[in-house]
Structure formats: C-alpha cells, structure tokens
C-alpha cells in the first residue's frame, strides 16, 4: 500500500524554495484519506500554479498512485 503522505511530501518539497517549511498532515473523513499541505507563504504559488495547474497535477499523480489499492485521497492545500 502506498503512503499518500510520503508522495505529497516528496512532490511539495521538490517544487518549493523552502522545503523545510513543508508540512503535511493526514486525517480521514468518510472513508477517504484527507491530506493537508502547508507551505511557506511565498511558496504557495509554486504548489498551486497558474489557474491551479500545478495543484491539479499533484492531485492527478496522487490519485494515480492510490487508485491501484482503491484508496480515496483528497488533497487540500491550506493557506494559513
């Protein structure tokens, strides 16, 4: 079983300028895994992208990885 937490952390840390500020938390809701991603305020654009393109790509890769095992995973990018 793949760990969605590790995937999101790896992807986010690869995209941002401040990898040490990347915080990922995992919880469950209605049978789905909910991943919350927080990054440094200056890095928010790096994980969201123009018109949300990068965020969509993150979700696509995440669901490709988890679809095999039938897990349902939601990714929320949280702006504090």
């Amino acid at each position: 079983m793949v760990d969605p937490f590790l995937i999101v952390r790896h992807l986010a840390r690869s995209l941002v300028d401040k990898p040490d500020a990347v915080k990922v938390s995992e919880s469950s809701r209605d049978g789905a895994v909910v991943i919350e991603l927080r990054v440094a305020p200056d890095d928010l654009g790096k994980v969201i992208g123009r018109r949300g393109q990068t965020a969509r790509a993150l979700r696509t890769v995440l669901s490709a990885a988890t679809a095999v095992s039938g897990q349902r995973v939601l990714l929320n990018i949280v702006e504090d």
Binding site: T54, L58, T60
Partner: protein
C-alpha cells in the same frame, strides 16, 4: 496556421535542470510504489525523459493525464533548478507520446475529410500545446481546410475551418 508556440522548446537545457527533473521523476515513481527507470535522450530538438519498466504503463493514465501531470511537475522542478529558464522537457512512458501522435494525426486527417465533405467548422476537444502542434502539422498541407487555435490555457482547442477552393 501552425502555432509553433513555446520558443524556449528549441533552446538546449542546462544539464543540471535535466538531472534535477530526472532524479525527481525517479523519486516520484518510488514514492508511488511503482517500478520504472528514467532514461534521457535527445529527439528532434527535444529532451525526452522516458519512463520504462514493468510499471511504466501505469504512469500514462487515461488520455495521458498522469504522464502530462508528471511532465508538468518535472518541468517545474527543472525550471526551479536553473532560475530564469523555462524548461520544456518531454516526459514519456512506454512510448505513449509516439502512439498518441499517430492517433492524433489519423484523427486530424479524418476530421479534415469530414470538414471538407460537410463544409462546416469542426471544433476539437482541448489539447495541450504539443498535441495541438501535431494536429496543425497533420493538416498543414491538407487541401481545403485551415486550422486555428482558440481559447486560453487548458481550454485551448483547434478549429478546423473549410476553405473554398481558389
């Protein structure tokens, strides 16, 4: 009209950017719990990062959504490595891009014929830049039609327009 967009596509990339993208892809595949290797090659002016191995087919996705997402992310990582350089690496898996190009060329020819026959404008579904280029090229010397792109960003699509004989 051929939109040979993305002039940066023709500029050779910094090797450090290619390395960064390559390592990123390899680590992503591992994090996804899959087994595939990354090989780098030059092809027709493009740098292609090809994923191959037992799980490469799982990295393509329906209509290439997964490989397109990986390509976008790998390009972000490459661009970050060499500041000011907008990377345009091609990420491929299991020969998907070549297969898709053949499918699109055939589809373009068929739509071109239909456009001429019916004399009506045909609007295709949205396609990414490289795939639009394939369609424009496939119809560039097709008698009786003209192609145009319209719309913005991910909604950009090709219009095939019937042209009256001169």
């Amino acid at each position: 009209m051929v939109d040979l967009n993305d002039p940066s596509a023709r500029r050779p990339l910094d090797p450090r950017a290619i390395d960064a993208a390559s390592v990123f892809l390899k680590d992503t595949v591992i994090a996804m719990g899959l087994d595939a290797d990354v090989n780098v090659r030059e092809e027709g002016g493009d740098t292609v990062l090809e994923l191959s191995g037992p799980d490469a087919k799982h990295l393509v996705g329906k209509k290439g959504v997964t490989i397109d997402a990986l390509q976008l992310l790998a390009n972000r990582v490459a661009s970050k490595t060499v500041a000011g350089d907008r990377a345009s690496l091609v990420v491929d898996a299991d020969g998907y891009r070549a297969k898709r190009e053949r499918t699109l060329s055939t589809m373009a020819q068929e739509l071109g014929e239909r456009c001429v026959k019916e004399g009506k404008v045909i609007l295709m579904e949205p396609l990414p830049p490289r795939e639009r280029r394939t369609v424009h090229m496939a119809l560039a010397r097709f008698e009786g039609v003209q192609t145009q792109s319209e719309g913005e960003g991910e909604e950009r699509r090709i219009k095939i327009i019937p042209m009256p004989a001169p």
